[in-house]
């Protein structure tokens, strides 16, 4: 099968590559661009671990052909942080311990990021709705929902939120 030359805009960088028609975006991201943050789990659109943004909207990269993503802005989990500077959402995931095995985390972050871009102060119901398509088999949803709900503003009653929780200078003590 003929390979086709396309240009993908991934995390702000233009990447020229040759893809087969049956290459999914996920395969191209992981195998050709070495962006292995997005994970393949179910491969049929049920689990959400392959979620990336296309033009700002969360979509399943395992059910998107690479050819169909041409001309769109693609953002993967690697594109969230600016260098070493993590986003509030990522910090919040760390602070809340919203990571167990971590396999679902890239997808969770991308779905949550899309929600926060539209609605910076979601309540728990809105967070649960936005994350409904992401499955965590460690079943740690409570921490994840907290992490997203408290990402843009620390919550007073929450022991995991800085500055109300653990002090920043924990390492020095």
């Amino acid at each position: 099968m003929e390979k086709i030359s396309i240009t993908l805009d991934v995390n702000g960088k233009l990447c020229e590559l040759m893809v087969a028609p049956n290459d999914t975006l996920l395969e191209v991201l992981r195998d050709d661009l070495d962006l292995t943050g997005s994970k393949e789990s179910c491969g049929e659109g049920a689990c959400g671990s392959c979620t990336v943004h296309i033009d700002g909207k969360p979509v399943r990269s395992c059910l998107t052909l690479a050819l169909e993503a041409e001309g769109s802005k693609i953002k993967t989990v690697e594109g969230l942080a600016k260098g070493d500077q993590l986003t509030d959402l990522q910090e919040s995931f760390i602070n809340h311990g919203a990571v167990q095995c971590g396999f679902c985390t890239p997808g969770m972050l991308m779905s949550a990021d899309a929600l926060l871009n539209e609605n910076p102060h979601p309540d728990r119901t809105e967070v649960r709705k936005a994350l409904a398509g992401n499955i965590c088999r460690c079943t740690g949803y409570a921490k994840i929902v907290d992490a997203v709900a408290h990402a843009s503003h620390p919550h007073e009653g929450c022991p995991d939120c800085r500055p109300y929780g653990r002090s920043e200078s924990k390492g020095e003590e």
């Binding site: 028609p21 049956n22 049929e44 959400g48 979509v59 998107t64 052909l65 409904a132």
Partner: protein, 332 residues
Amino acid sequence: MRLPRFEYLRPKTLEDTLDLLADHKDDARILAGGTDLLVRMKKGLLSPKVLISLKALNNLSYIQKNDGSISIGATTPLADIIASDLIQADAAALSQACEKVGAVSLQHYRGTLGGNVLQNNRCHNYNQSQFHRSGRQACHKAGGKICYARDEADRCYSTCQSDGATALMALGAKLVLVSKKNERTVDLADFYTNDGIVPFAMESHELLKEIIIPVKGGSSAYRRLAYRSAIDYPIVCAGVLLGATDNKIDKARIVVGAMGRSPLFLAQASSSLNGKDLTDNRAFKTAAYQAMDSAAPFAVHNVGSTLEYRQAMVEKMVFRALTAAATAAIAQ
């Protein structure tokens, strides 16, 4: 999971698309959102030689109000339908149904209304991995002569689990199908073949262009039951439309989905509501039981959960949809 090989075509105009469809016919499949098609291809249920992508056709994505109807382009994303005030006001059932399709990040931005209506029938014996299916003989839908869902069945009993189609049938929607030679409009209720293998009365060179919803007043609602609210297909769903003058119902349509090979319009249960009061919960209960009795024989045990449970839940879903529609009608 790798996709099987295929040739990818991206026509720029509707005419080119129809030309390509006419050339390739059964070898080609239309790729819109891909959330149903690509999954089936990955599982080896389907391996078209050619995929015709509708990505470059921008003029098939619209929601438009006409005189007495709303027309929706076939590639309108579900997210646009949910966000549309027009649909919310005049076709609430469709809005509620689209909201329930899959999860936000899966279907709402990629999935299209046309794709949802045309999603192929499903059966938990058939929609499985190649490995799972390789363990036993092919069923009717896979080209064999056996049905695992019903003993000694002579035909395929796969179930239509489309949320959109159930709501649209309750709203009395019509489909506009175009081909290279002609364009025809067909009632959604007449669009089904009653054959689980080829569920739609549509030629391989035809393309679904538009969905037309007549707006004649009245209010509608959609309720469904699924294992998980996101991701899963419905195991029972109901769409209803109630029209009333002076709080007396003069038009009712009850449609039950995920029970048969197509959404089921239940004429007897619907007509039992004529002349009843909008606040008459007992009439709704009676109609819901009647709907359950009429729909139950169509179902077989093939979409998860037990058959008895699904049959019993028809009554609940229809009742909930009826009360929701009645509440909306009173509020108008």
